[in-house]
Structures are given as structure tokens and as C-alpha cells.
């Protein structure tokens, strides 16, 4: 039976398709840690999109499991251990296909929005 889901889960569902795309896209320019990714999405979208941490970390771990991104522990500039993600070869392929799917969907939805049904 459908049960009441926690608030975060719902947001994951809403963003899931696109958040993956955004993460992969962000990592295309080089390895980053989770905080860095969230900052990049925020800055890159002109402060419109915010990757909620409750969606971001599950997405990162899911993508890591899917082997689209790989993680490493590194020392940051101020001598702290941070987990850094980078794009894998499979991730690059996935990024391409997600991008084309996204474009398809934008076109499809755009098409629906432009035409009134007869």
C-alpha cells in the first residue's frame, strides 16, 4: 500500500532525472566534493536551482553505485579530509545520453505547450 513518504523523498523524486544530469554536467569540468557541486549548481543557474542536500547526497551515492562517478578521499587546502567525486568513462556516456533525452523532453513538452489539443 502506498504509505506517507518523508518530505525529502518526494523532492528526490521530483528532481531525480534532472539532478543526475546536473551533477554529471558539473563534474565534467573536473573533480569536486559534494559542497562544491552544490555551490556550482547554485552559481551556474544564477541562484535559481538549489540542490537540496537531502537529494544531493543520495544522488551522489546512487551515481557512485551506478559507476558513473567515482569517489576518492583527499586532503583539502586546509588539511582536512574531503570526499571528492569525479566523472568516469561510463559517466561521460551517461551524461551524453541524459543530455539528449533532456533535449527530447524539452522539445516534446514544448510541443505540447505550443499546440492546443483539437
Amino acid at each position: 500500500m502506498p504509505r506517507k513518504q518523508p518530505v525529502y523523498r518526494n523532492r528526490v523524486e521530483l528532481l531525480q532525472g534532472t539532478l543526475d544530469l546536473l551533477i554529471l554536467q558539473t563534474l565534467q569540468w573536473g573533480p569536486r566534493h559534494g559542497y562544491g557541486i552544490s555551490q556550482a549548481i547554485r552559481a551556474g543557474s544564477g541562484d535559481v536551482l538549489r540542490a537540496d542536500t537531502g537529494s544531493l547526497y543520495p544522488a551522489l551515492h546512487r551515481l557512485e553505485r551506478a559507476k558513473w562517478i567515482a569517489a576518492e578521499w583527499k586532503q583539502s587546502e586546509n588539511q582536512q579530509r574531503v570526499k571528492v567525486y569525479r566523472l568516469t568513462a561510463a559517466g561521460k556516456k551517461q551524461l551524453l545520453s541524459e543530455r539528449s533525452r533532456w533535449e527530447q523532453m524539452v522539445n516534446a513538452i514544448g510541443g505540447i505547450l505550443r499546440h492546443e489539443p483539437s
Partner: protein, 862 residues
């Protein structure tokens, strides 16, 4: 906390630290920065939790989401869901119930150690062998760890509050250890104890121990009276222990078998059990056995005939296996039909869901995801069906145990266990994939743009129609095969019922009187007691006549003896013909109403002092005296080649053939001997047969009381009417027929629903076309024909395929049939006709509805 959990915490804390540092660089105070960063981050624990879920449960969660989605869809369509689940539950439930029987009877090992190494040695693979053979084989064979013999025994237990006749076995000391089941209490016999004189010890079965001794743990050493002799209890077997497994299955007491001088006897009375020596195969044992037999045959001609080594399990389940496999096949068909039905329904629904699918596809769901979602839905349906099915199976199994025929081995052990649950789960999974795959492939492969354009109208590809047609055809084929199977069973059941038993079974009451426990009516005085009892019983008002015999036809044991006819050449040793014999007190043949066709019956004048006489049956008279002059001829039961003065018996009468021990067996030689001339051949019990005016069951207590008035120590058992004896003999055939009939009916209803659904759907889909036809002047009857023809083509294709399948399959049922060929013309004509009629009816309803369509509404709707 696992390493991964610590790492996650560290990752999140580093995130927070970096956020705080950024904020402080932008000029916030340390406290402010921390508070804001934490607020922005949100609930840390919750973030950790949802992240952790990504590690391992990702697919399960997706599955769960799909299942939830499916369940939501089901709730929106309660009618559809209920019908689908019911159909699946019937199919799966029938499967689980029959599988339970297969599991308990065929698959579960016998309750002994290494049961597959146990064998039994029997005459013709079924009957007992001679003690002399046992002694020789045991001494000479090297293939067995051990070999033991068993003999049925029915002692009277007296001296307790409730005297009763017990089912027991006399076994050689080797048998119980050979089985590998240790006693729950006490010990087994030691090898010396199966010698004459020291055989007065018993091992109790659990149920007897509970019933007669209240489960008393101090029962060891107790002395009990069996047949007026004192025995000592030395052991108790654990609960659930059963021996022997295929005959004398009710035995609940074991005593040593002291062969003594009997060890040289040739009369067949023992069933042998042995355990193969490690490393010896059955074939090796059989090879050795035949060479031993060949050597013995040279030594004692005519003594080593057709004795065979049979695996114990094979002997226990061999006869029931064809029936169970037929039933398993039948329920498999029922399940396939149910699958086909649900697949129809899903196909019909997927047509209306094409819009939903298109939207989901447009929003980014891949074909794999759609497929997974559809399969998750059908699997959810199948699992629900399986759950309900398991419930049905539970009831079904209880009914089988309750109403099952008495002859089926291990029927009482039927129960749902993990294997049945596993089977049900597997069947449900396979079912879900089977009926869900075609609709799912079809639905997920839809061209999304086209479906969106059509705006949710049911699409009607020809491919889909072909799949549905194929489903209907296979449903009909399967139903037809089932119906033909059921029809054949019905025909053979009718044939069984029509057998003339040779006597009148109604108004007959039978019971076994046993004098073994009576000090007064002991063996020497038994004849007086029997005659006195007969006189008493005949005097009871309501009793028409009464007689006694050693064994009743069908119900009782059946003994055979070789015989020799006077003046005929002696056959080779061991090759004399056998006749089944019944010892009869005067009045037995008359009470049974076995007609005497020639000569006279056994009467009161045939006593120990008068000349020996015999009444033979018609079969024997015709076989040995084809000229019809049997009366007055003489035969003997003593081997004339070894006995100097054989006792000659004059044939005084010829009786009509009656059923012997097996209801459906063809007639064979049978002789009736006056009991008073052969009192030594009888044990300590006899069967009383009473013909009554009214309901025989009413008289049972009166008869029992009148016998106990003569001697209270006589036990009375097996009180039953002859009708119920015959019912019991045919119970298995009736049971198989009833089960097959139930399955065939379910199958027919399911396929009728199937064709009805398909034709209704086809008619709806063609509304527009029909509307146009009607508008252009077609008459309603033409529309009727159009729709009906389409359905009937499918039904007839299915029927043809079913006939072909049935021709191939019913051959396998041959062992279950009596008096009817596997390819029975009547069945093969009547059943297809019946099924076609059902199909026609199922087509006509939607066809009529289509013919009544108003062209205006039909056209406007589109």
C-alpha cells in the same frame, strides 16, 4: 556504526565545515555562520538516512515503488483485480494442493534412515514369499547389509479395560534395526529373541502406547496378554513411525517372528525387507539374486519363481504415481488457462492504458523501466493470487485428507510445508511473468507519439489481436484435453460401477469375530462357538440369513492354494494352478446370494466326518471341464507327488463367478470349502456376514450384544456394510474422477469467460465498423453471424488442437482407466461437442449485443 556510516558522517561534516568557512569569509560571525549553514543543510540525520538507503536497497525500493503503483492501479479497478486474482488463485491453489499430495506421497522420503537404500523382496513384485526362500536368500546373499522378514498378525489384546483386536507384525529381529529408526523408549529384539520359545516380547507403536497405556514411561517390562499369551513390553517406537509402509500399514505393535520349524515351509507368507550394502547398486543386487535363485532352483525345483527385488519407495508409491502425475498435469493446464485469461484482461487493459504509457515514456521512462513497471504489476497480481491460492490449497488439502480414498499411501501425512510454500511462490512468480510478459512487451513497445495523437482511444493493432486469438485457441485446447481426461475417468468409473460382483451387496452387514483372546472359545472350541453364534444371530428379528467365511471378497485377505485334478497328468513341480479359496460355514453362499448354477451349495451335512466336498466357480468349471461335466469330479489340495494319500474333494456344486479381492480383476479360479472339514486351515478369527431386512447398520449393536452374551472375550472388529466395502474399493477411482472433473469444470468456466471477454472486446472494438454496416443496410443477423463466426473459428481451432493433444496425452492415463480405451470414440466426440456449445454460448452474448447496436450512437461515439 559501520565504516561506511562513519565515512558518510565525515563527508557531511566536511560539507558543513566548508559552508561555515565560506560564510565566515563573507563576514558572518562564527556562531551565525554555523547556525545558518546548518539550517541551510537541513536535517542532518534524515539526509544521512536517505543517502544510506542508496547503498543497497535501490532496486528493492524501485520495485517497492512499482508495486505500490500497481496496487494503486488495482484499487482503482477493483472488479478487474478481483476477477484476475480469483482466476489466478484457482489456478495456483489447485497446483499447490496437488503439489502438496505429490510432495507428501512421492517426494518426501520414507521415514527411515537412508530410505533409498531399502528394498523389499516380493513374489511378482507384490506378494509374499516362502519362509524357506527367506532363510536361503538371507544365508547366501552378499549384497545386503541385512535382510529381515515380516508377517501380518492380528492378535487380541485382553486383560486391559478395553480388549481390542490389534494390527501387528511379526518381524525377524533384523528388521527394526535395519530401518535405522531408534526406539523412543527401551530397545529392539536381540537376534536370539526371534527363536521359538523366546519370542514373547513386543515393541509398541506410539499411538498404541498412548491409547492403551496412557503414554506411561514405566511401560517397559509390563506384561500384556495377546491371544491369551503373556508378552513383555521392551520398547516403544517414536511418534510417526510406520512400518510396514505398503501393506499392514496400520500395524502398531511388533513382535519377534520365530520361524522355527516353519523355516522349511514353502507356503508364501513373508514379505522381506533389506538394506543394500554400501557401494552395491540395485542392479548388482538383482544380478546376484538371480544367480542365487537359479542355484536354488536346481536344488529345489519349482520353489524359486518370480520373486523380485523392488526399491521400497517404488513399492510404496508406484501404484499411485500415474494418478498423481495425471492430476499434476491437469492442474498445470488449469493454471495455464488462468494465465491466458489474465493475459487477455491485461492486454485489454493495456490498450486503454496506452495513453498513460506514452506520457510516462515522454517524461523519460525508458523501455526497460516501463517493462519493469508492468512486470511488477503483474507479479503483484500473481503474488496476491498466490496468497489466496495458498489459502484455497489449505482447504483443498484438508478436504483431500478427509475425503481421500483409504488405499492411498501416506495420505494422512499431507500438510503444507516449506516445500509447498516454495512451490507456490515459484509458481506465482512464473505465472506473473508468463501472463505479464506479453502485455508488458506490447505496452512498453508502443510508439509514444502515435498513442498521444490518438488521445487514449483503444488502439487495435492486428498483432495484438493475433496474440489474443492465440490465447483463446490454447485455452480451448487445454480445456478440451482436461475435459477428455475427466470424461475418460467418468466412463471408467461408470464401467467400474457396472461390474456385477456376483453377489448382492445391499442389506449385508459384515464383521470380524476373533476368538484369540477368549480362554473358552480357543482354537479347538472355535467351530462350536462359530456355529453357536450363527444360530444366535439367525434368531435375531430382522436377520434374514447369516453365514461365515474366512475372508470376505474385496475387504478381507485373499488366500490361494495350488490344486490337482484327479486323473490328469501331474504338472511340473511348482507349476500347479492356484485357486483362491474361501472356507465357508453353511449359509455363506446363500447369505451373499452367490447363485449356485449347478449342483448344490455347502450345507450343514458337510462336517468333519462326511466325505470331502468342494464348490467351484463357473470360471474354473469352464476352464478345466469345458465339456460341462465338472460335478462329481475330484480334486485335491495336497501335492500328489509328495503326499502318499492326498485327500480328494468331490465337486458338488458350481457357483457363479464373484469378485475376489480386487474389484476390477477378471474372474479366476475360486473354490469354496466347508469350514468344518478344514478347521485347521483357519486362524483364530472369522468373518460373519448377515443379510438383514432393514438397514444393516441398525442391527450391528444387536448382533454384537448377542455374540458377547455367549463370550465377552471375543473381539469384534471391522463392522461395516458390504456396500461401504465396495465403495471403499472404488474410492480411489471416484476420487480421481471427482478431482479431474472439478479441474475440468474450472478450466471450462475459465475458457468460456476467456472467449466471452475476447469476443465482447472484439465486438466493442468493431462498434464503428458494425455501425457503418448497419447504417449501410446490413441486417442484425448478419452482424450476429460476423461476430459469432470470428469466435467460433478460434474455438474450433482450439478444439482441433485439443483433440490432437488429447490423443497424445490420454495414452499416459491408460493405467488409470478401466473398461474404456484411452482413445474412446464416445468421449472424443461428446466432449468437443460440449465445449463447442459452451463456446457458441459465450460468443452469442456479445454478438447479440453488437447486433443490437444503434448505428447512430456507435458512429457518434467515435
Amino acid at each position: 556504526m559501520s565504516r561506511r556510516d562513519r565515512r558518510l558522517k565525515e563527508e557531511i561534516e566536511s560539507h558543513l565545515r566548508m559552508a561555515i568557512r565560506d560564510r565566515m569569509e563573507r563576514g558572518e560571525s562564527a556562531a551565525e555562520a554555523e547556525a545558518n549553514a546548518r539550517r541551510e543543510f537541513g536535517n542532518q540525520v534524515l539526509v544521512e538516512e536517505v543517502t544510506r538507503q542508496m547503498w543497497s536497497w535501490i532496486w528493492l525500493e524501485q520495485l517497492w515503488r512499482d508495486v505500490c503503483y500497481g496496487l494503486r492501479g488495482m484499487r482503482r479497478n477493483p472488479g478487474f483485480t478481483a476477477v484476475a486474482i480469483l482466476a489466478l488463485a484457482l489456478g495456483i491453489g489447485a497446483n499447490s494442493a496437488i503439489f502438496t499430495a505429490v510432495n507428501a506421497i512421492l517426494l518426501r522420503p520414507l521415514g527411515y534412515r537412508d530410505p533409498e537404500r531399502l528394498v523389499t523382496i516380493l513374489n511378482h513384485g507384490t506378494g509374499p514369499v516362502a519362509p524357506a526362500n527367506f532363510v536361503d536368500w538371507k544365508a547366501q546373499s552378499r549384497s545386503f547389509d541385512n535382510m529381515g522378514a515380516a508377517e501380518a498378525w492380528t492378535p487380541d489384546l485382553t486383560g486391559s479395560d478395553r480388549p481390542e483386536k490389534l494390527w501387528a507384525l511379526r518381524v525377524s529381529a533384523d528388521i527394526l534395526p535395519l530401518l535405522g529408526v531408534p526406539p523412543a523408549l527401551g530397545r529392539f529384539f536381540t537376534p536370539g529373541e526371534d527363536q521359538p520359545g523366546s519370542q514373547f516380547e513386543v515393541v509398541l507403536g506410539y499411538s498404541l502406547w498412548q491409547r492403551q497405556f496412557g503414554g506411561d514411561s514405566h511401560v517397559l517390562g509390563r506384561r500384556i496378554q495377546l491371544d491369551n499369551q503373556t508378552y513383555t513390553v521392551i520398547g516403544v517406537m517414536p511418534r510417526g513411525f510406520r512400518f510396514a509402509p505398503f501393506w499392514a500399514t496400520r500395524a502398531e505393535l511388533w513382535a519377534p517372528l520365530a520361524l522355527g520349524p516353519r523355516a522349511s515351509q514353502r507356503g508364501n507368507s513373508l514379505r522381506l525387507f533389506a538394506r543394500l550394502r554400501p557401494g552395491i547398486t540395485l542392479e548388482q543386487a538383482r544380478a546376484e539374486f538371480s544367480s542365487i535363485k537359479a542355484a536354488l532352483e536346481r536344488q529345489y525345483p519349482g520353489t524359486n519363481q518370480d520373486q523380485r527385488i523392488v526399491p521400497l519407495k517404488e513399492r510404496v508409491v508406484g501404484e499411485i504415481r500415474p494418478a498423481l502425475l495425471t492430476l499434476l498435469c491437469a492442474v498445470g493446464f488449469v493454471l495455464l488457462i488462468a494465465c491466458a485469461n489474465v493475459a487477455h484482461m491485461l492486454l485489454a487493459r493495456s490498450a486503454t492504458r496506452s495513453h498513460e504509457v506514452a506520457v510516462r515514456a515522454a517524461l523519460g521512462a525508458g523501455r526497460g523501466q516501463l517493462l519493469r513497471q508492468f512486470l511488477a504489476e503483474s507479479l503483484t497480481l500473481a503474488m496476491l493470487g498466490g496468497a489466496v491460492g495458498l489459502l484455497l490449497a489449505y482447504w483443498g488439502v484438508r478436504a483431500m485428507v478427509r475425503f481421500g480414498p483409504p488405499g492411498i499411501p501416506r495420505l494422512e501425512t499431507l500438510s503444507l510445508d516449506w516445500r509447498v510454500a516454495g512451490w507456490t511462490l515459484a509458481v506465482s512468480l512464473v505465472t506473473g511473468i508468463l501472463f505479464g510478459l506479453a502485455p508488458a512487451l506490447r505496452a512498453s513497445g508502443l510508439n509514444s507519439a502515435e498513442s498521444l495523437k490518438k488521445g487514449g482511444r483503444a488502439s487495435s493493432g492486428t498483432g495484438r489481436q493475433r496474440v489474443r486469438g492465440l490465447l483463446v485457441v490454447s485455452e480451448f485446447a487445454l480445456s478440451l484435453m482436461l475435459l477428455i481426461g475427466a470424461g475418460l475417468m467418468l466412463r471408467s468409473f461408470v464401467a467400474l460401477q457396472a461390474i456385477d460382483p456376483g453377489f448382492r451387496p445391499d442389506h449385508l452387514l459384515t464383521m470380524i469375530l476373533s476368538v484369540g483372546g477368549s480362554p473358552d472359545a480357543g482354537l479347538e472350541r472355535a467351530p462350536e462357538f462359530y456355529q453357536g453364534a450363527l444360530a444366535r444371530v439367525r434368531a435375531i428379528p430382522g436377520v434374514t440369513s447369516a453365514g461365515m467365511t474366512n475372508h470376505l471378497p474385496i475387504a478381507g485377505d485373499f488366500w490361494g492354494l495350488p490344486f490337482w485334478i484327479e486323473g490328469r497328468p501331474l504338472p511340473h513341480p511348482g507349476e500347479a494352478a492356484d485357486a483362491g479359496f474361501r472356507l465357508a460355514l453353511p449359509g455363506y453362499l446363500e447369505t451373499m446370494q452367490i447363485p449356485i448354477v449347478r449342483g448344490r451349495s455347502i450345507d450343514a451335512g458337510d462336517t468333519a466326518d462326511s466325505p470331502g466336498v468342494v464348490v467351484i466357480n463357473q470360471y474354473m468349471a469352464q476352464t478345466y471341464w469345458p465339456g460341462g461335466n465338472a460335478i462329481g469330479k475330484r480334486l485335491t489340495l495336497d501335492d500328489p507327488s509328495s503326499s502318499r494319500k492326498p485327500a480328494w474333494l468331490t465337486v458338488v456344486g458350481i457357483a457363479k463367478n464373484d469378485v475376489r479381492d480386487d474389484w476390477a480383476a477378471p474372474p479366476a479360479e475360486e473354490i469354496f470349502l466347508p469350514y468344518l472339514q478344514h478347521t485347521d486351515a483357519m486362524g483364530h478369527y472369522i468373518t460373519l456376514v448377515v443379510r438383514t431386512k432393514g438397514d444393516p447398520a441398525f442391527l450391528a449393536p444387536v448382533i454384537e450384544r448377542s455374540i458377547w452374551r455367549i463370550d465377552r472375550n471375543v473381539t469384534i472388529s471391522e463392522v461395516q456394510t458390504m456396500n461401504s466395502v465396495i465403495e471403499g474399493a472404488n474410492a480411489e477411482a471416484r476420487f480421481n474422477m471427482a478431482l479431474l472433473a472439478v479441474f475440468a469444470t474450472v478450466a471450462t468456466v475459465l475458457s468460456a469467460v476467456g472467449i466471452f471477454g475476447v469476443m465482447s472486446y472484439a465486438a466493442t472494438r468493431r462498434r464503428r465498423e458494425i455501425g457503418i454496416r448497419l447504417a449501410l443496410g446490413a441486417r442484425p443477423t448478419e452482424v450476429l453471424q460476423l461476430i459469432t463466426r470470428e469466435g467460433m473459428v478460434l474455438a474450433l481451432c482450439g478444439t482441433a488442437a485439443g483433440i490432437a493433444g488429447a490423443l497424445a496425452l490420454t495414452r499416459l492415463m491408460a493405467k488409470l482407466l478401466y473398461g474404456v480405451e484411452p482413445v474412446d470414440p464416445l468421449t472424443f466426440i461428446a466432449v468437443p461437442l460440449l465445449l463447442t456449445t459452451v463456446a457458441l454460448a459465450a460468443c452469442l452474448v456479445p454478438a447479440f449485443r453488437a447486433a443490437r447496436t444503434s448505428p447512430v450512437t456507435a458512429l457518434r461515439q467515435e
